[in-house]
Symmetry: C2
Amino acid sequence: MTKKPTPLVSPLAPARFPDLPPVAGVRFASANSGTKYKNRDDVMLAELAPGSTIAGVFTQSSTRAAPVLDCQKKIAGSSDGGAAFFVNAGNANAFTGARGDGSVDAITSATAQALGFAPARVFSSSTGVIGEPLPHKAIIAKLSEMKTSLSDDAIASAAHAILTTDTFAKGAFTTIQGDGGKITIAGFAKGSGMIAPDMATMLVYIFTDAKVARPLLQDIVATATQSTFNCITVDSDTSTSDTLLVAATGQSSAAEITANDDNFRTALHGIMLDLAHQVIRDGEGATKFVQIRVTGATTDADARKIAMSVANSPLVKTAIAGEDPNWGRIVMAVGKSGAAADRDRLAVSFGDILVAEKGWVSPSYTEQQGVAYMKNQDISINIDIGLGTGSAIVWTCDLTHGYIEINADYRS
Amino acid sequence: MTKKPTPLVSPLAPARFPDLPPVAGVRFASANSGTKYKNRDDVMLAELAPGSTIAGVFTQSSTRAAPVLDCQKKIAGSSDGGAAFFVNAGNANAFTGARGDGSVDAITSATAQALGFAPARVFSSSTGVIGEPLPHKAIIAKLSEMKTSLSDDAIASAAHAILTTDTFAKGAFTTIQGDGGKITIAGFAKGSGMIAPDMATMLVYIFTDAKVARPLLQDIVATATQSTFNCITVDSDTSTSDTLLVAATGQSSAAEITANDDNFRTALHGIMLDLAHQVIRDGEGATKFVQIRVTGATTDADARKIAMSVANSPLVKTAIAGEDPNWGRIVMAVGKSGAAADRDRLAVSFGDILVAEKGWVSPSYTEQQGVAYMKNQDISINIDIGLGTGSAIVWTCDLTHGYIEINADYRS
């Protein structure tokens, strides 16, 4: 590949932002606080009807940002009364010591007071620069304006207000037929953009009018996270601020979701997967969307270890960027993963093209086939370990000059 | 950083290749087999005096190349009779199935026959393209020429014959006073170059005239590997072929080395560390040599986990490439390591400059200090976890456009 100017919008972006429908019981507002971005909204508020249940999944980092720690303290609390999500973009309030905790308290308390809710029901997130004090007064000053403009139509503006260096806003929705009524699920995400001296932060907010008890909602969300957001990687670097919050307002006329309701579980999983894929499609400098499927591993955990080893290998990712069918690097990445593998049982395919098997290149494979396949924008790498029934699928993007440009070509 | 043409020689290269002295009991030869490189030697032979003891450390990859598997079978065998190392560059003989094993047998048997040694005493390595059959007949055809030209003066030519896309040959030597005589240690390494569709291979050969029993030599080498070659990383991708072989000919008049001989242990460790650092200084696209020292971790293992997490973080490595004192990314990499850490006890320094402490930027730190420090070619990052006494030091290089260029900007 030759080095070209980094495009303003990822070449892997969807054609347009979807027409997200209103979700009964949720109202949105956004505004500009001037924290970092001057000509666009940079704070968003989602107001949730009384009784909404809220599930959350957060970064496992040991250097978590202040708002993440606050959310984790609150997430299992009572579902009584109204609730809110509050997000600011441009400052991550991470590694800001006790002052950072104070900013979170100030924002969540002010939001609670403005809306008449308990502070324990206000969940905040911050994304952007790290190590700088959050100017929470300027943010709080926007609350009355936002309260006035709350609208069930404003979800698209909210989705745009949380972006940092993302090249497109990420949204997804679906409606399903529940028992006695229609259920809507709509959500948005940001992530994979970076700017000096930020780090990628993935924030995801999903709303539904379904009626779901909190423990069940948490279980559904945590389970779906394992095969969606926890299966994507741009560069193996984990943010201090990753946050996924799902709110269920219970305003649909459909009956309460039960543990056996695969319909809702599948629909929510689908939205999460869609948003996760959109995050990869906006990976820094990405020009290829890559799926890595591992089958035949000794265990599912081993399959995941192998898939992630391939997905995070700089040599595999640069080969894909160069449209090089370099299967030797895939074999290398399998070998270094630490999971059980046997050179002579391994099979590697690009899409449906069998490339390597039985410890060597497949007799049916030609380099021409590989070269042609690698020109696709969406690449599928299938690896069969030949040892057991463990499997995993993960998604990643390629590693290009664009990544270096975004992350090294500046002075902070 | 701006993108410049990748330099022919790493900017981090030493001024010149050292004048490696002869090692009593070792003779070298090299030749051109035409496997891949046409205008330079690409095979090398080291002949070792009868009774030489040999220690080896090999890649942990589960997709190890055929010569590595063969070396591992032989390494603990008898030290009787002469021995030899044989290396070819340009073809890794990796992922070549049963045919690859046959090539190793052919080469080691032919070498043994030419020199009058047992095949079990011939250790071979291959580095270069993966998945292609090794043209072992052309290689074996060079044996008689090499046998004739064996010389104890030819170590420099041998060091050059094993290179692939390295930008400089890597050598180191020392002499120490043993009990009753001088002991010489000299060695060379290759590594960190890549070429389509190769992967990095690190090969290291060290020779000494010391008298050391094989189990003790193996113990000394294995122990020293933990704090030298196992503490370097260019891009986290582990080769299928990494090999370190150390031969002790026993021809020095010094008394046999004992387990308590710290003098020899320290000298060998020094040579291994020197060669390991030279491999990093030839990392693909490297413009900075980076030391990461972690102290105060709960255990040494945790310290190593944190140091490697920082050393392998693309965001940390691109920040260093951009001469950006982006300490937030270091905090992020500590947080994602999985090792025990507490945001509020962490301290980060660049060289002697205290940057962050107690969960926030240090009051004494100025961005100007950090910017000035990052202009150095050798960067030292010190991280104190503040929890215990575990420590580790690892070395890496930065991640630049040169890395992408070398690994993506070609068609295989």
